[in-house]
Amino acid sequence: MKIDSIQNGIVLDHIQAGRSMEIYRLLGLNRLDCSVAIIKNARSTQMGKKDIIKIADRIDINLDVLGFVDPGITVDIIENGELVEKKHVQLPEKLVNVLKCKNPRCITVSEPHLRSEFLLTDREKRVYSCAYCDTRYHR
């Protein structure tokens, strides 16, 4: 299968196979006007298979979302068909408006306009806790 390379834009590479649609949703890529290609199960020497997302525009990417979903993702910035920058993401300390608390007793459930905040409370186990009620969320 052949997907054209992009001239100016962003390539999200080394996504764990099967995670690309979650990233597409969390980053709100459906709202973009430019071309977006999702490649699932691409062959990878490192990972066996991987997903890739190509975005034909230089948009602001929420790196925290990427780090939360998959800290192994790389972000390639393409200008005039050349790779000009490669960014590595990491597990973010704080997630804002990414997750919704599942605790029915949490104030963010009864007042949904409140800004959702989750804090990384266990890096090793990749556990985030709601800043309001401390409900734990395992990634």
Partner: protein, 305 residues
Amino acid sequence: MRNLLNITDLTTGEIDELITVAEDIIANPEKYQDVCRRKKLATLFFEPSTRTRLSFEAAMLDLGGNVLGFSEASSSSTSKGETVGDTIRVVCGYADIIAMRHPKEGAPYAAAQVATKPIINAGDGGHNHPTQTLTDLLTIHRERGSFENFTIGFCGDLKFGRTVHSLVSALARYTGIHFVFISPEELKLPRYIIDNTLDKQHLSYEETNSLEEAMPRLDMLYMTRVQRERFFNEADYIRLKDTYILDPEKLEAAKPDLCILHPLPRVNEISVEVDNDPRARYFAQAENGKFIRMALIMKLLGLKA
């Protein structure tokens, strides 16, 4: 500006400082009677409470300040659909410091995001109740003289009991304490407290379902109520509510200097016959709540005697 939303907002040094001030207030109350003159405390109780609200109000009055507020959500604009944030923004224009209780977990955190005056969490659902923890710590300190080298038993609802969770995390900062957790299987201490506090800090603890078996080893016994309001299923509440009842017979096996605590209100878990036993310290504990809240109000307002 400082808030107190969770007991972990305070360092060990700050807790020690609050206890020192509270003990000085007990010894020299007249020294503190005008510290908060012309200051106002708003007590915003979106959920009913007796002890906590009255002890906050008594604390502010004993500091020479004034109080205003409401004691249930139905007498506030919450009943008209007002958000916590809007209520807090308005009250910040009227008061110098706010103590709030709310049935929703995290409501004080939401309040603190918009507040321009210090917020004290006076209980948010089953989540945190840091001034109860400060009350418990002051009581333990007054009874034992220190926070080191004793065995403390927690008995009853250890799953939903926020006072237990907060006190365990506060005591975990000190050394030489052995914890005994006494509960039915369904109301055991949550796994995350065992993982993140007890095991992580290599603390000494055991879990049992027998109060009688644990009793002879205890220096402190912290009894708790099985709280009807925390159960979604009434049948589970009825089945578990009378699992442990402390009575004079059970106390026969206890140490002569055991100290019995309870955050109150009690229902059946401590027989009224125990009240006259000198080891019963729960009413003294409730009184200590006023003194530690006086110390806390002063600290958050940046005032000294």
